[in-house]
């Protein structure tokens, strides 16, 4: 494929686009893994949404 006298500009544009798209994919994937790890760590320590919901109800005794 002959890209002519301005091949550097064409190739440069496609390299930048590929790098940015790859960066976005890596960022979103790594962020997902980090949040899953954080949730798993909290669960391991017994802190779950269910445990938060099943907190004993505080009823104030009448004086």
């Amino acid at each position: 494929m002959d890209l002519g006298p301005h091949a550097d500009f064409i190739v440069g544009a496609y390299i930048i686009a590929t790098a940015v798209v790859a960066g976005l994919v890596v960022w979103v994937t790594a962020d997902h893994a980090a949040q899953k790890r954080a949730l798993a760590e909290l669960e391991r320590r017994g802190i779950t949404r269910r445990s938060a919901e099943s907190r004993p109800l505080q009823i104030k005794e009448p004086a």
Binding site: M1, D2, L3, G4, P5, H6, A7, F9, I10, G12, A13, Y14, I16, A17, V20, V21, G23, L24, V25, W27, V28, T29, D31, H32, Q35, K36, A38, L39, L42, R45, I47, T48, R49, A52
Partner: protein, 242 residues
Amino acid sequence: MALIDLANPTRFVALVERVLPWLVAATVIAFAFGLWGTYLAPDDYQQGATVKIMFIHVPNAWLSMFVWATMSAAALGTLVWRHPLADVAAKCAAPLGAAFTFLALATGSLWGRPMWGTYWVWDARLTSELVLFIMYLAVIALWRTVDDPTRAGRAAAILTLVGAINLPIIKFSVDWWNTLHQPASVFRMGGPTIDWSMLMPLVVMAIAFTLLFISLHLAAMRNEILRRRVRTLMLTQAERAA
């Protein structure tokens, strides 16, 4: 699943987990067809092979405005209907929009140098697009400045709606002012002026980049919901410890 069910973050995450693999597959296929079409597209009679930059520049320029329009709709959801996922959608779209706008500016500069003889000129289209990029960075900075997601969401929503004024300025800048940037050649009265052999791969690449945005946006929204879940659990833990 009714549309109202998507207001429930748990159901939304479940839906994303189901839909995302299909969206990713569709994105990869669309890029494969788009890049193949780009490879086969003929050189322009004036620009030569540099016209190939158009196939990444134009979809990113369209997306830069489309993402801000999406954020504006989400901002209305936050301010008017207080939809629980509206500020999540807006927050997650901002970095993606910033990336697409950066790509529109960078590839435009690389296209401009051989065609116009300069990387940059302060004409209305380029300047208004640069303003859009700065607005994206401002929204991202605002989200990072305020700790409480609800307060940050409302402030970012107001900034987003103010910034939406820039969208028609970008679109019509080439008609309202005398610019070095060419006028619209696809979305215009009287139909596209681009030959079918170049228009087809351009449309496919635009579809591919749009699918990429939808995939990344849904994945980032899922991540944000999980992040807020982690934050809530840690606050609960801190309250118990106190």
